[in-house]
C-alpha cells in the first residue's frame, strides 16, 4: 500500500503528512527544552549565588559555534532551494556543507567540554555545571540526530531524487525544519548560558 500524502497536500490540513508530523514533533521539542529552561530559571533564582557564564565558559568558542550553526541553517535552506530549482549537484554541495558544519559544531563543542574536564569541572561540581551540561548535552544529541538524517539525505537517501523528486524535496524540507529548530534552540542557549 502506498503511503498517502507524501507529495500532494491533504485537503483538510493543506499540508503533506510529513510536514504536519514534523511540526507536531517540534511542538513537543519546544516543551522538552521549555521544561529545561524553566528548571534553569528556577535553579538560578533559588541559588544564593550564580556564576557569570563568561567567567567560566569560553565565549569566543561559543560565538564561533553560533556562527557555524547559523551558517549551517542557510546552507540547509539553500540545499532545499536548489532542489526546488532542479539543481541536484548544488543540493549535494549545500547539504554536504550543512553536514560538515554539524561536524564543526561538535568538534568545537568537544574542545570546550575537554577543556572543562581537564579542569575537573563536571556536572557534579555545581548546579550551574549540572544544567550547563544537561542543556548543551541534549542540544548536542539533537545535532547528532540531525546529522544522521542529513547524512542519509546527502548519501544513500538521495537516490530518491531520480525516482520521486518532489517526495525527496519534501523530505529535505522536513529535515530542514528540524535542523533550523536545533539552530533556534542554540540561539537561546548561547546568551542564557554564556553571557548572562
Amino acid at each position: 500500500m502506498e503511503i498517502p500524502y507524501t507529495i500532494e497536500n491533504r485537503p483538510d490540513t493543506g499540508l503533506f503528512n510529513a510536514k504536519l508530523g514534523i511540526w507536531l514533533f517540534l511542538a513537543s521539542e519546544v516543551m522538552l527544552f521549555g521544561a529545561l529552561f524553566t528548571s534553569y530559571i528556577l535553579l538560578r533564582v533559588s541559588a544564593p549565588e550564580w556564576p557569570h557564564g563568561s567567567a567560566i565558559l569560553n565565549v569566543p568558542l561559543a560565538t564561533l559555534n553560533t556562527v557555524v550553526l547559523i551558517t549551517s541553517s542557510i546552507t540547509m535552506v539553500m540545499a532545499w532551494a536548489s532542489l526546488k530549482m532542479n539543481n541536484f549537484s548544488r543540493y549535494r554541495m549545500f547539504m554536504g556543507l550543512t553536514f560538515l558544519m554539524g561536524v564543526g559544531f561538535l568538534i568545537i563543542k568537544s574542545i570546550e567540554y575537554g577543556s572543562k574536564f581537564e579542569h575537573h569541572l563536571f556536572p557534579s561540581n555545581s548546579t550551574f555545571f549540572a544544567i550547563y551540561y544537561t542543556l548543551t548535552g541534549l542540544h548536542g544529541l539533537h545535532v547528532i540526530g540531525g546529522m544522521i538524517v542529513n547524512g542519509y539525505l546527502w548519501g544513500p537517501g538521495s537516490r530518491m531524487w531520480k525516482s520521486a523528486p518532489e517526495r525527496f524535496t519534501n523530505r529535505v524540507e522536513v529535515a530542514g525544519l528540524y535542523w533550523h529548530f536545533v539552530d533556534l534552540v542554540w540561539i537561546f542557549l548561547f546568551p542564557v548560558l554564556y553571557l548572562l
Binding site: A35, T38, M85, N86, P165, F190
Partner: protein
C-alpha cells in the same frame, strides 16, 4: 517543478536574514561586554535572541507563509510554553516552597 523565479527571490531573502543573524550575534556578544546590570543584560539578550529566533522561524522555517494547521498547533504550544515559563515565578513567590529550598 520549475519555480525558479520565486525561489530565486526567496534566496535573496535567505541571504539577508543570514547577514542579519550574524550581525545580531555580534550585538549579543558586544552587549555582554558593556557589563550592564543583570536585569538589563537579561532583557536585552532575550530581546535579541527572540528577534533572531523570529527570523529563523519566519524565513528559514517559512512560518511567515504557512498553513493554518501549523499555526493552530503552534498557538497551542505557545500557550503551554507560556504556562511553563510562569511556573518558576509561582514557585518563587510561594513562601512555603522557597523556605524549603536549601
Amino acid at each position: 517543478m520549475d519555480q525558479s523565479h520565486d525561489i530565486k527571490k526567496h534566496v535573496r531573502t535567505y541571504i539577508a536574514v543570514f547577514i542579519a543573524l550574524l550581525a545580531l550575534t555580534m550585538v549579543t556578544v558586544a552587549v555582554s561586554y558593556l557589563h550592564l546590570e543583570v536585569h538589563e543584560a537579561i532583557v536585552i539578550a532575550l530581546i535579541v535572541a527572540t528577534v533572531k529566533g523570529g527570523l529563523v522561524a519566519s524565513f528559514f522555517m517559512h512560518l511567515i507563509s504557512e498553513k493554518k494547521a501549523v499555526y493552530m498547533a503552534l498557538v497551542l504550544t505557545a500557550v503551554f510554553f507560556a504556562a511553563l515559563m510562569w511556573l518558576p515565578l509561582f514557585a518563587h513567590s510561594d513562601p512555603i516552597m522557597m523556605n524549603h529550598v536549601p
